[in-house]
Symmetry: C2
Subunit: 200 residues, 2 copies
Amino acid sequence: MSTKIIAIGREFGSGGHTIGMELAKSLGIGFYDEALIGKIAQESGYAEDFIRALNEQEAPGKYRFAYSLVGRDSKGKSMEDYVWEAECRVIQNLAETESFVIVGRCSDYLLGDREDTLTVFIHADYDFRCKRIVERYGETGEKPLKRIKDKDRRRGAHYSYFTGQTWGDKDNFDLCLNSGKLGVEKCVNILRHIVEVENA
Amino acid sequence: MSTKIIAIGREFGSGGHTIGMELAKSLGIGFYDEALIGKIAQESGYAEDFIRALNEQEAPGKYRFAYSLVGRDSKGKSMEDYVWEAECRVIQNLAETESFVIVGRCSDYLLGDREDTLTVFIHADYDFRCKRIVERYGETGEKPLKRIKDKDRRRGAHYSYFTGQTWGDKDNFDLCLNSGKLGVEKCVNILRHIVEVENA
Protein backbone atom coordinates (compact mmCIF):
# COMPACT_ATOMS: atom_id res chain seq x y z
CA MET A 1 0.00 0.00 0.00
CA SER A 2 1.31 3.44 -0.83
CA THR A 3 2.11 5.95 1.88
CA LYS A 4 -0.62 8.49 2.53
CA ILE A 5 0.44 9.78 5.92
CA ILE A 6 3.83 10.72 7.30
CA ALA A 7 3.94 10.88 11.11
CA ILE A 8 7.02 12.68 12.43
CA GLY A 9 8.42 12.73 15.95
CA ARG A 10 11.35 15.06 16.59
CA GLU A 11 13.79 16.37 19.12
CA PHE A 12 13.51 20.08 19.91
CA GLY A 13 15.76 22.07 17.57
CA SER A 14 16.34 19.18 15.16
CA GLY A 15 14.43 20.87 12.35
CA GLY A 16 11.75 18.16 12.40
CA HIS A 17 8.94 20.72 12.21
CA THR A 18 10.50 22.42 9.20
CA ILE A 19 11.16 19.06 7.55
CA GLY A 20 7.51 18.09 8.00
CA MET A 21 6.27 21.41 6.66
CA GLU A 22 8.56 21.38 3.62
CA LEU A 23 7.70 17.76 2.92
CA ALA A 24 3.96 18.45 3.02
CA LYS A 25 4.45 21.45 0.72
CA SER A 26 6.49 19.48 -1.80
CA LEU A 27 4.02 16.59 -1.76
CA GLY A 28 1.07 18.98 -1.98
CA ILE A 29 -0.70 17.48 1.05
CA GLY A 30 -1.94 18.81 4.40
CA PHE A 31 0.30 19.62 7.34
CA TYR A 32 -0.78 19.31 10.95
CA ASP A 33 0.93 20.49 14.10
CA GLU A 34 -0.46 23.22 16.35
CA ALA A 35 -3.16 23.65 13.77
CA LEU A 36 -4.84 20.57 15.21
CA ILE A 37 -5.60 22.34 18.47
CA GLY A 38 -8.70 23.97 16.96
CA LYS A 39 -10.05 20.57 15.95
CA ILE A 40 -9.20 19.04 19.32
CA ALA A 41 -10.94 21.92 21.09
CA GLN A 42 -14.05 21.35 19.03
CA GLU A 43 -13.97 17.60 19.64
CA SER A 44 -13.28 17.81 23.37
CA GLY A 45 -15.34 20.85 24.25
CA TYR A 46 -12.37 22.51 25.98
CA ALA A 47 -11.09 25.93 24.95
CA GLU A 48 -8.10 26.19 22.59
CA ASP A 49 -6.13 28.23 25.10
CA PHE A 50 -6.71 25.64 27.77
CA ILE A 51 -5.48 22.83 25.50
CA ARG A 52 -2.46 24.88 24.48
CA ALA A 53 -1.62 25.50 28.13
CA LEU A 54 -2.04 21.79 28.95
CA ASN A 55 0.39 20.89 26.17
CA GLU A 56 2.94 23.38 27.39
CA GLN A 57 2.85 22.54 31.07
CA GLU A 58 4.83 19.78 32.70
CA ALA A 59 3.55 16.45 31.49
CA PRO A 60 1.20 14.69 33.88
CA GLY A 61 3.71 11.89 34.34
CA LYS A 62 5.65 14.10 36.70
CA TYR A 63 2.63 14.50 38.92
CA ARG A 64 1.16 11.11 38.39
CA PHE A 65 0.67 10.55 42.10
CA ALA A 66 -1.16 13.84 42.57
CA TYR A 67 -3.18 13.23 39.42
CA SER A 68 -4.25 9.88 40.74
CA LEU A 69 -5.89 11.54 43.73
CA VAL A 70 -7.28 14.84 42.55
CA GLY A 71 -8.74 16.36 39.42
CA ARG A 72 -10.56 13.24 38.30
CA ASP A 73 -14.25 12.86 37.62
CA SER A 74 -16.59 10.05 38.60
CA LYS A 75 -15.17 7.93 35.75
CA GLY A 76 -11.66 8.39 37.16
CA LYS A 77 -10.58 10.56 34.24
CA SER A 78 -8.65 13.80 34.33
CA MET A 79 -9.03 16.71 31.91
CA GLU A 80 -5.81 15.55 30.26
CA ASP A 81 -7.40 12.18 29.62
CA TYR A 82 -10.38 13.79 27.90
CA VAL A 83 -8.19 16.02 25.79
CA TRP A 84 -6.04 12.99 24.87
CA GLU A 85 -9.10 10.98 23.87
CA ALA A 86 -10.34 13.85 21.73
CA GLU A 87 -6.89 14.16 20.14
CA CYS A 88 -6.86 10.43 19.31
CA ARG A 89 -10.26 10.67 17.65
CA VAL A 90 -9.34 13.78 15.66
CA ILE A 91 -6.09 12.28 14.36
CA GLN A 92 -7.54 8.87 13.59
CA ASN A 93 -10.54 10.39 11.83
CA LEU A 94 -8.30 12.61 9.73
CA ALA A 95 -6.30 9.53 8.71
CA GLU A 96 -9.48 7.99 7.32
CA THR A 97 -10.21 10.92 5.10
CA GLU A 98 -7.06 12.64 3.87
CA SER A 99 -3.34 12.48 3.14
CA PHE A 100 -1.09 14.59 5.39
CA VAL A 101 2.13 15.11 7.29
CA ILE A 102 1.74 15.38 11.04
CA VAL A 103 4.41 16.48 13.50
CA GLY A 104 4.34 15.43 17.14
CA ARG A 105 1.12 14.65 19.06
CA CYS A 106 2.20 10.99 19.58
CA SER A 107 1.13 10.50 15.97
CA ASP A 108 3.65 7.70 15.33
CA TYR A 109 1.94 5.78 18.13
CA LEU A 110 -1.59 6.62 17.02
CA LEU A 111 -1.07 5.88 13.31
CA GLY A 112 1.98 3.59 13.18
CA ASP A 113 -0.04 0.40 12.75
CA ARG A 114 -1.64 1.71 9.57
CA GLU A 115 -0.06 0.34 6.41
CA ASP A 116 -0.42 3.70 4.70
CA THR A 117 1.62 5.53 7.34
CA LEU A 118 5.36 6.14 7.36
CA THR A 119 6.71 6.91 10.85
CA VAL A 120 9.84 9.01 11.16
CA PHE A 121 11.94 10.37 14.02
CA ILE A 122 14.23 13.36 13.44
CA HIS A 123 17.16 13.86 15.80
CA ALA A 124 20.44 15.75 15.93
CA ASP A 125 23.28 16.37 18.33
CA TYR A 126 23.11 19.14 20.91
CA ASP A 127 25.54 21.45 19.08
CA PHE A 128 23.37 21.49 15.96
CA ARG A 129 20.20 21.99 17.97
CA CYS A 130 21.56 24.73 20.24
CA LYS A 131 22.69 26.69 17.20
CA ARG A 132 19.37 26.16 15.45
CA ILE A 133 17.08 27.26 18.29
CA VAL A 134 19.07 30.44 18.83
CA GLU A 135 18.91 31.21 15.09
CA ARG A 136 15.19 30.50 14.91
CA TYR A 137 13.80 31.60 18.25
CA GLY A 138 16.51 33.97 19.47
CA GLU A 139 18.24 34.10 22.82
CA THR A 140 16.32 33.93 26.08
CA GLY A 141 17.52 34.20 29.65
CA GLU A 142 18.12 30.47 29.64
CA LYS A 143 21.03 28.63 28.06
CA PRO A 144 20.08 26.88 24.79
CA LEU A 145 21.11 23.48 26.13
CA LYS A 146 18.82 23.88 29.13
CA ARG A 147 15.92 24.97 26.89
CA ILE A 148 16.44 21.88 24.73
CA LYS A 149 16.67 19.47 27.64
CA ASP A 150 13.56 20.94 29.30
CA LYS A 151 11.52 20.74 26.11
CA ASP A 152 12.65 17.19 25.29
CA ARG A 153 11.93 16.09 28.86
CA ARG A 154 8.37 17.44 28.64
CA ARG A 155 7.79 15.85 25.26
CA GLY A 156 9.25 12.58 26.46
CA ALA A 157 7.17 12.51 29.64
CA HIS A 158 3.96 13.36 27.77
CA TYR A 159 4.66 10.69 25.15
CA SER A 160 5.54 8.00 27.68
CA TYR A 161 2.55 8.80 29.88
CA PHE A 162 0.02 8.39 27.11
CA THR A 163 1.67 5.71 24.95
CA GLY A 164 3.57 3.57 27.49
CA GLN A 165 6.54 3.68 25.09
CA THR A 166 9.94 5.34 25.30
CA TRP A 167 10.06 8.62 23.42
CA GLY A 168 12.48 8.57 20.46
CA ASP A 169 13.09 4.82 20.62
CA LYS A 170 14.14 3.85 17.08
CA ASP A 171 12.20 0.60 17.33
CA ASN A 172 8.95 2.60 17.20
CA PHE A 173 9.78 4.17 13.82
CA ASP A 174 10.18 3.09 10.21
CA LEU A 175 13.17 5.35 9.95
CA CYS A 176 15.22 7.79 11.98
CA LEU A 177 17.12 10.61 10.33
CA ASN A 178 19.97 12.52 11.90
CA SER A 179 19.30 16.03 10.60
CA GLY A 180 22.50 17.28 12.22
CA LYS A 181 24.51 14.99 9.95
CA LEU A 182 22.30 14.87 6.84
CA GLY A 183 20.98 18.44 6.92
CA VAL A 184 17.35 19.54 6.87
CA GLU A 185 17.02 19.74 3.07
CA LYS A 186 18.38 16.25 2.51
CA CYS A 187 15.97 14.84 5.10
CA VAL A 188 13.05 16.39 3.18
CA ASN A 189 14.36 14.93 -0.09
CA ILE A 190 14.89 11.45 1.36
CA LEU A 191 11.35 11.36 2.74
CA ARG A 192 9.89 12.70 -0.48
CA HIS A 193 11.75 10.01 -2.41
CA ILE A 194 10.37 7.30 -0.13
CA VAL A 195 6.79 8.54 -0.45
CA GLU A 196 6.92 9.27 -4.17
CA VAL A 197 9.12 6.45 -5.42
CA GLU A 198 9.55 3.64 -2.92
CA ASN A 199 5.95 3.50 -1.82
CA ALA A 200 4.36 4.30 -5.15
CA MET B 1 31.36 15.94 -0.29
CA SER B 2 29.78 12.93 -1.95
CA THR B 3 29.42 9.62 -0.15
CA LYS B 4 32.15 7.09 -0.94
CA ILE B 5 31.67 4.71 1.97
CA ILE B 6 28.56 3.24 3.56
CA ALA B 7 29.17 1.80 7.03
CA ILE B 8 26.34 -0.43 8.21
CA GLY B 9 25.63 -1.73 11.71
CA ARG B 10 22.79 -4.22 12.06
CA GLU B 11 20.83 -6.40 14.42
CA PHE B 12 21.13 -10.14 13.83
CA GLY B 13 18.42 -11.30 11.43
CA SER B 14 17.49 -7.78 10.29
CA GLY B 15 18.79 -8.35 6.77
CA GLY B 16 21.52 -5.74 7.23
CA HIS B 17 24.15 -7.98 5.65
CA THR B 18 21.98 -8.62 2.58
CA ILE B 19 21.14 -4.91 2.34
CA GLY B 20 24.85 -4.05 2.38
CA MET B 21 25.71 -6.67 -0.21
CA GLU B 22 22.89 -5.68 -2.57
CA LEU B 23 23.72 -2.02 -2.14
CA ALA B 24 27.38 -2.59 -3.00
CA LYS B 25 26.38 -4.64 -6.04
CA SER B 26 23.95 -2.02 -7.31
CA LEU B 27 26.49 0.78 -6.76
CA GLY B 28 29.28 -1.28 -8.33
CA ILE B 29 31.63 -0.84 -5.36
CA GLY B 30 33.42 -3.19 -2.97
CA PHE B 31 31.76 -5.02 -0.10
CA TYR B 32 33.49 -5.92 3.14
CA ASP B 33 32.36 -8.14 5.95
CA GLU B 34 34.08 -11.43 6.85
CA ALA B 35 36.23 -10.87 3.79
CA LEU B 36 38.23 -8.41 5.86
CA ILE B 37 39.55 -11.15 8.12
CA GLY B 38 42.26 -12.08 5.60
CA LYS B 39 43.51 -8.49 5.57
CA ILE B 40 43.36 -8.22 9.36
CA ALA B 41 45.31 -11.48 9.68
CA GLN B 42 47.99 -10.13 7.38
CA GLU B 43 48.15 -6.81 9.23
CA SER B 44 48.17 -8.30 12.75
CA GLY B 45 50.26 -11.39 12.12
CA TYR B 46 47.63 -13.62 13.72
CA ALA B 47 46.06 -16.54 11.84
CA GLU B 48 42.67 -16.08 10.16
CA ASP B 49 41.14 -18.93 12.15
CA PHE B 50 42.30 -17.37 15.38
CA ILE B 51 40.75 -14.00 14.47
CA ARG B 52 37.52 -15.67 13.40
CA ALA B 53 37.38 -17.51 16.72
CA LEU B 54 38.08 -14.30 18.65
CA ASN B 55 35.21 -12.57 16.85
CA GLU B 56 32.83 -15.40 17.62
CA GLN B 57 33.63 -15.86 21.28
CA GLU B 58 32.09 -13.88 24.09
CA ALA B 59 33.22 -10.28 23.82
CA PRO B 60 36.04 -9.36 26.19
CA GLY B 61 33.75 -6.94 28.03
CA LYS B 62 32.18 -9.83 29.83
CA TYR B 63 35.55 -10.84 31.23
CA ARG B 64 37.00 -7.42 31.56
CA PHE B 65 38.20 -8.06 35.09
CA ALA B 66 39.95 -11.29 34.12
CA TYR B 67 41.38 -9.64 31.02
CA SER B 68 42.78 -6.87 33.12
CA LEU B 69 44.91 -9.36 35.05
CA VAL B 70 45.92 -12.06 32.62
CA GLY B 71 46.76 -12.44 28.95
CA ARG B 72 48.46 -9.07 28.59
CA ASP B 73 51.97 -8.41 27.39
CA SER B 74 54.54 -6.00 28.77
CA LYS B 75 52.69 -3.10 27.09
CA GLY B 76 49.49 -4.11 28.93
CA LYS B 77 47.82 -5.21 25.71
CA SER B 78 45.81 -8.35 25.07
CA MET B 79 45.63 -10.26 21.80
CA GLU B 80 42.19 -8.74 21.27
CA ASP B 81 43.77 -5.29 21.50
CA TYR B 82 46.32 -6.14 18.82
CA VAL B 83 43.68 -7.59 16.53
CA TRP B 84 41.49 -4.51 17.11
CA GLU B 85 44.38 -2.17 16.29
CA ALA B 86 45.10 -4.11 13.10
CA GLU B 87 41.40 -3.97 12.19
CA CYS B 88 41.34 -0.19 12.68
CA ARG B 89 44.38 0.26 10.43
CA VAL B 90 42.98 -2.03 7.74
CA ILE B 91 39.58 -0.29 7.65
CA GLN B 92 40.99 3.23 7.82
CA ASN B 93 43.54 2.49 5.12
CA LEU B 94 40.86 1.04 2.86
CA ALA B 95 38.83 4.22 3.33
CA GLU B 96 41.75 6.23 1.99
CA THR B 97 41.94 4.26 -1.20
CA GLU B 98 38.55 2.95 -2.33
CA SER B 99 34.79 3.23 -2.23
CA PHE B 100 32.92 0.40 -0.46
CA VAL B 101 30.09 -0.83 1.73
CA ILE B 102 31.17 -2.33 5.02
CA VAL B 103 28.98 -4.29 7.42
CA GLY B 104 29.77 -4.53 11.13
CA ARG B 105 33.31 -4.33 12.54
CA CYS B 106 32.47 -1.12 14.46
CA SER B 107 32.86 0.60 11.09
CA ASP B 108 30.36 3.37 11.92
CA TYR B 109 32.62 4.30 14.83
CA LEU B 110 35.86 4.00 12.86
CA LEU B 111 34.68 5.92 9.79
CA GLY B 112 31.73 8.02 11.02
CA ASP B 113 33.75 11.22 11.33
CA ARG B 114 34.68 11.13 7.64
CA GLU B 115 32.59 13.44 5.51
CA ASP B 116 32.52 10.86 2.72
CA THR B 117 30.92 8.19 4.93
CA LEU B 118 27.24 7.49 5.45
CA THR B 119 26.54 5.53 8.65
CA VAL B 120 23.45 3.35 8.82
CA PHE B 121 21.88 1.04 11.39
CA ILE B 122 19.43 -1.65 10.27
CA HIS B 123 16.98 -3.01 12.84
CA ALA B 124 13.72 -4.94 12.93
CA ASP B 125 11.35 -6.44 15.48
CA TYR B 126 11.92 -9.92 16.88
CA ASP B 127 9.12 -11.56 14.85
CA PHE B 128 10.66 -10.45 11.57
CA ARG B 129 14.14 -11.51 12.66
CA CYS B 130 13.14 -14.88 14.07
CA LYS B 131 11.40 -15.75 10.82
CA ARG B 132 14.33 -14.54 8.76
CA ILE B 133 17.09 -16.44 10.57
CA VAL B 134 15.13 -19.69 10.36
CA GLU B 135 14.57 -19.15 6.62
CA ARG B 136 18.20 -18.31 5.98
CA TYR B 137 20.17 -20.39 8.45
CA GLY B 138 17.67 -23.13 9.28
CA GLU B 139 16.58 -24.46 12.63
CA THR B 140 19.09 -25.34 15.34
CA GLY B 141 18.56 -26.85 18.76
CA GLU B 142 18.10 -23.34 20.14
CA LYS B 143 15.01 -21.20 19.84
CA PRO B 144 15.38 -18.40 17.25
CA LEU B 145 14.74 -15.68 19.83
CA LYS B 146 17.54 -17.00 22.03
CA ARG B 147 19.92 -17.17 19.05
CA ILE B 148 19.11 -13.56 18.20
CA LYS B 149 19.50 -12.28 21.74
CA ASP B 150 22.82 -14.12 22.19
CA LYS B 151 24.22 -12.79 18.93
CA ASP B 152 23.07 -9.22 19.59
CA ARG B 153 24.49 -9.37 23.12
CA ARG B 154 27.91 -10.44 21.78
CA ARG B 155 27.90 -7.78 19.09
CA GLY B 156 26.80 -5.16 21.61
CA ALA B 157 29.44 -6.11 24.16
CA HIS B 158 32.21 -6.16 21.54
CA TYR B 159 31.11 -2.79 20.16
CA SER B 160 30.82 -1.14 23.58
CA TYR B 161 34.14 -2.53 24.76
CA PHE B 162 36.11 -1.10 21.86
CA THR B 163 34.17 2.09 21.11
CA GLY B 164 32.85 3.16 24.52
CA GLN B 165 29.49 3.77 22.84
CA THR B 166 26.14 2.02 23.11
CA TRP B 167 25.57 -0.44 20.29
CA GLY B 168 22.62 0.52 18.04
CA ASP B 169 22.18 4.00 19.58
CA LYS B 170 20.51 6.05 16.84
CA ASP B 171 22.58 9.10 17.80
CA ASN B 172 25.67 7.38 16.38
CA PHE B 173 24.17 7.00 12.90
CA ASP B 174 23.13 9.22 10.01
CA LEU B 175 20.06 7.10 9.57
CA CYS B 176 18.37 4.04 11.02
CA LEU B 177 16.10 1.89 8.89
CA ASN B 178 13.50 -0.53 10.23
CA SER B 179 13.83 -3.37 7.71
CA GLY B 180 10.94 -5.21 9.37
CA LYS B 181 8.62 -2.36 8.44
CA LEU B 182 10.22 -1.11 5.22
CA GLY B 183 11.41 -4.45 3.80
CA VAL B 184 14.92 -5.34 2.70
CA GLU B 185 14.54 -4.25 -0.93
CA LYS B 186 13.20 -0.82 0.02
CA CYS B 187 16.11 -0.29 2.41
CA VAL B 188 18.56 -1.00 -0.44
CA ASN B 189 16.73 1.43 -2.71
CA ILE B 190 16.58 4.20 -0.09
CA LEU B 191 20.30 3.93 0.54
CA ARG B 192 21.11 3.82 -3.16
CA HIS B 193 19.01 6.94 -3.66
CA ILE B 194 20.88 8.75 -0.90
CA VAL B 195 24.29 7.82 -2.30
CA GLU B 196 23.45 8.39 -5.95
CA VAL B 197 21.16 11.39 -5.73
CA GLU B 198 21.29 13.17 -2.40
CA ASN B 199 25.05 13.08 -2.03
CA ALA B 200 25.94 13.51 -5.67
